[in-house]
Subunit: 156 residues, 2 copies
């Protein structure tokens, strides 16, 4: 994948948990709730139909307000790559004003951990800048740390 610095945001980190476990965390509603939004925000509901075109719907609780997010999976490569977006809801219904497409990549780091790459692709430079100003790196970085901590707690 060739990134476009004008419209894409991406980072890679090494997480101290095995690839397969991180995959399970990202694809299981009961796990998602433990890391998917930076605390003190929380996930109040999560529905997953883990297949191409299947739903990935979540509700966030942000300071007492419920925010509903409808999305679908675009690509599901077990243990390696997960792509989802708010550009569609189930049945390939296009969203009026989609924000982004998320691409998560998982690779063994050769030492029991995972090279974790998170990418957000946007429709325009303006949307990318808006996301960056909303705190993409801080927010998604926090989510990565929460994911790592949660995954480690599962193997203790």
């Amino acid at each position: 994948m060739i990134l476009d610095p004008k419209t894409d945001l991406s980072f890679t980190r090494t997480l101290a948990a095995p690839r397969q476990l991180l995959w399970e965390c990202w694809t299981t509603p009961a796990h998602i709730k433990h890391f998917f939004v930076p605390r003190p925000h929380s996930v109040s509901s999560c529905e997953i139909d883990l297949r191409v075109g299947g739903r990935f719907n979540t509700t966030f609780n942000v300071e007492g307000n419920e925010m509903q997010n409808l999305g679908v999976y675009l690509e599901v490569i077990e243990g390696e790559k997960l792509v989802f977006t708010d550009a569609y809801s189930e049945g390939w219904k296009p969203a009026a004003d989609p924000f982004m497409t998320a691409i998560l990549e998982f690779a063994d780091d050769g030492a029991g951990g995972t090279r974790y790459t998170a990418t957000a692709r946007h429709r325009s430079a303006e949307a990318k800048e808006q996301h960056e100003q909303m705190g993409f790196f801080d927010g998604w970085g926090t989510v990565a740390t929460q994911l790592e901590d949660y995954a480690k707690s599962l193997v203790r």
Copy 2:
């Protein structure tokens, strides 16, 4: 799939050609050129990478002007269902202003022919109305007739 009459356009026709042959016509560049745009317009190039996220890029010749269309496949169910869109180009790069998502469904009609359903889903009622006024039913209907005639010519 539940259609939304405000944003979706769809028709079903029976075509006198077997399902598998229509599928091959829709997924092979050399065949696409024979039916994909209403004549006298023509397809001057076609690139297909037939997998989820793979490219479906075409160039149309419309009255001497070349129109390039970049797209990807969203869902590929061999012989049954083909979904593609201009909302992405290869690598899940979002398009700035996508127009539609096309869903083609193929089913045996029990008499050697095919029940062919073509659906275009749009982001807004305005886009759907624009597409209808551009001649969706006439244009896509002509494409279905051209497809049927071309497929029949292959089995003669």
